[in-house]
Amino acid sequence: MVEYGDDLSITEKDELLRYIYGGWIIDDPDEGKRVSSAAFRDHEDTPMSVFLRRELADVRSTDIYKNGHRWVVTLSAGRLKAELGQRICLDPDPNAPVGHRYVVGPKKSGTARAAFTATYRWVIAPASYNGSRGQPEMIDGDP
């Protein structure tokens, strides 16, 4: 089992970017479009991936964005740690993409699901999002 070490450089003001697969963006009668809680889960053998924003030249500079995952949300590192009991960890792979981090902690409970979906803010939002949880930095069509 892989041991993930905490990234001690993380501050509560750090932003963590999560690139959103289009199928995780769903219609919502209150928000126009929203991100499903399915977007904030661990994988079978690795924790949830994020990118530390301050290490990226641009939100659109990552390979995952260039591979078509063009909607992006930001999560507050401070809130993930303090309110959701998550750890922000370094990727032990020496060939990991720039800025890549893991969010380690329980995510399947109803409380965690609700907390993740209440916490995110759009960076690049789909066109049908109505702005109800704050204005995004960019808009890029609908999935």
């Binding site: 690139y19 769903i26 009668p29 809680s37 399915a38 661990d42 994988h43 991936s49 109803g110």
Partner: protein, 165 residues
């Protein structure tokens, strides 16, 4: 306003389904054919076929579909989701359908302040998240047979003022 009227949550408990649907699939190189057996007197929702097509599309997702190394969607999760939707009475609103990275399927209904999520996992387990009558969150792990009889859960979905199309 009619558009915001809440459908009576009682109708489902008065007429629960008296069957457990079975599903047989046949896959050829060209298409996946499903044969669903339900009670003749049961009326499935109009959106059912469209939702099944959405579910079938999930089976086509290649490994890594989420950009982070996701698993392909499992047949077990697919079968359980289709069987569950087949027990819905006709006035239930359609679900939002999303894949999960571990190869499962999640059905969702949202109308603030109510959030309902049902996750079908590849290992045959099912988790349901929904509020009770006092809006307290309920978290349940169910088998498919238990889920098919979960009237309280379906009543919560039926009460949501969402489009039925």
């Amino acid at each position: 306003m009619v558009a915001n009227a809440i459908v009576s949550p009682k109708f489902y408990t008065e007429q629960p389904p008296d069957f457990a649907p079975t599903l047989v699939e046949r896959e050829s190189a060209k298409r996946l054919t499903l044969r669903l057996r339900i009670n003749n007197s049961w009326t499935i929702p109009q959106w059912f076929s469209k939702s099944v097509e959405q579910l079938k599309d999930l089976l086509k997702l290649a490994p890594g579909w989420d950009g982070y190394g996701a698993e392909p969607i499992s047949r077990v999760a697919f079968h359980n989701a289709v069987r569950f939707l087949a027990t819905f009475p006709s006035l239930i609103p359609p679900p939002q359908i999303v894949p999960t990275s571990e190869g499962g399927i999640q059905l969702e209904w949202h109308k603030q302040p109510v959030n309902v999520e049902i996750e079908f996992s590849p290992d045959d387990s099912i988790r349901a998240y929904y509020p009770d009558r006092r809006s307290e969150p309920i978290e349940e792990e169910l088998t498919i047979d238990e889920l098919l009889l979960a009237n309280n859960l379906v009543n919560v979905i039926a009460s949501l003022p969402l489009s039925r199309e």
